[in-house]
Symmetry: C2
Amino acid sequence: MSRRVTIDDVAEMAGVSYQTVSRVINDKPEVSPTTRARVQQVISTLGYRPSRVARSLATARTATIGLVVPDIANPYFSDIAHGVEQSGYEQGYSLLLCNTNEEPQREVDVLHVLDDKQVDGVIVCGLRQTGGPLRAALARLPAAVLVNRQLEGLALPAVMVDDVTGGYLATSHLLTSGHRAVGFVAGPIASDSGKRRAQGYARALAEHNIRGAPDWLRHCAPVVADGERTAAALLEAHAELTALFCYNDLVAAGALQACKRIGRKVPDDIAIVGFDDIHLAALMTPSLTTCHVPRVDIGRLAFDLLLRQIDTDEAGDAVIQISPRLIIRASAPG
Amino acid sequence: MSRRVTIDDVAEMAGVSYQTVSRVINDKPEVSPTTRARVQQVISTLGYRPSRVARSLATARTATIGLVVPDIANPYFSDIAHGVEQSGYEQGYSLLLCNTNEEPQREVDVLHVLDDKQVDGVIVCGLRQTGGPLRAALARLPAAVLVNRQLEGLALPAVMVDDVTGGYLATSHLLTSGHRAVGFVAGPIASDSGKRRAQGYARALAEHNIRGAPDWLRHCAPVVADGERTAAALLEAHAELTALFCYNDLVAAGALQACKRIGRKVPDDIAIVGFDDIHLAALMTPSLTTCHVPRVDIGRLAFDLLLRQIDTDEAGDAVIQISPRLIIRASAPG
DNA sequence: ATGAAAGCGCTAACAT
DNA sequence: ATGTTAGCGCTTTCAT
């Protein structure tokens, strides 16, 4: 493990002060073309690369941002990560990925780590926690953008999906197709998106003068296995249900499995609507009716918002609203 | 944006030298209990957190590793990322995620960035490139572990999937089920896993005295859409094919779509086998026969290998071989 | 156009 | 048990 080549090595070999080398690597104008060329020559023969760590200590900028997600293996979040990473790469930023593993207490924890490493900003997706420590940790950071959940009292830019409308669209679609008893497999109880989707769901039911909502709603982890378990339990407890609205497509995939297992035909016996329109949604059998959410775009927009904040040093509180579009497929046809 | 609280602020307020503060935050024994308590008191009232950047400059360790993947939106890699992140978190390491977006030239680029940021090591998945610059970039890093592909001449620890056996198992399964003409939708031409799966495929065909392999093999991007396009083209060009082995489950999902579109029943007209056993594989209709690969485990194993290298400072060249298991489902029943 | 000096916030000897 | 002095590899004044 040979010692790192430093700016001094370059300076010495080029016969200039290390300040001149600094000027060259930072593209400062005040260097004569000949010395610049000579220095650049030495840089490449030595294979010198400036240490980002040293530079960060001197400039208080790291060219790194943090991304906090509940579950990177969830395609919803891995698509967002893809968008963030891509935009970041284009602008010269690296991405520190933090998975909270759906454990709310890890949120504060990773924000502290991100702060210790002096990221220039963070993008936090699907916050499950809102308490004082979380707010304090967020406030310490130089810049932050929220995705999928805002924090009252904390003016932070955010990219939000209009979940109320999404829930309303999904449920209304089922209702206007003739269903009367529509269940909601609601996802994590701590999920804010889930709460808002429940509002849209409740509103649609109310407009159709249907009640029963509290009984027809069950929470579950936002993964296939728990969606299956929960959908099966819900259908068993409420034989009157002829349709299910699901928190997301993963849960809907579980519901589809449950129906297959207990012998309920989709969409004839049970209609199913999901949320997100992950790639897999169109591939399921029957293909899944769902609310489309542009995940990669969300990632890019969040990064744009963050970059603006980093560059202007103003928090701002721009909120970008994304309207989900209902995509009608076979699991709940028109 | 108030100035960061530094070690000096704490020292001053506690009435000790900043060295003593350093000793406290590093849990050094040589501090009297009373001063330790006092310093800790000040630390918490001030909300002081040591700067990882400064510490990194002083120690030449960043407690950060890099993860390079071709496509984080691919569930195969997001599951690996999940495993790496989880193990890293448990050991106090953060993860810099780099997506090469399936663009081979970006590999060298991100390795340089990772080197500039002085990561303690990197895990590189599914390398698409092997040239001198790539090797040089890899060699500069203090530690590296490869996943899915080794580099001849560069003794680096690796976690490898036994793709030859996987390809052989998959193809043999089809052959012993009575198929004679089996196509291979082979994935990226630059993929090493793809090459090895092709070897297993060819070996199985040879054992059954079947030739036609070169014509029956087509490359494609490892995503659903291109899998669909390529499978359709292959089936159209070779009406004799009654089965397809696919590079991965995403491509297999595309093949399933293609069959649906062109009216070939699976598995009656065409049998299909995938690779990886991503979560979605069991959910497709028909459910997908595939080779199971434990992705989260691979991520954790790769991290373990990396950590050992970081801690011992020895490169080592341990290679962990993962044997894929054939999972027989409806798309290619026994 | 170039150089010298100070400082970023910490750790690591080396005193005392 | 505590303090002093360097030094990590850069950037940023301030001189020349």
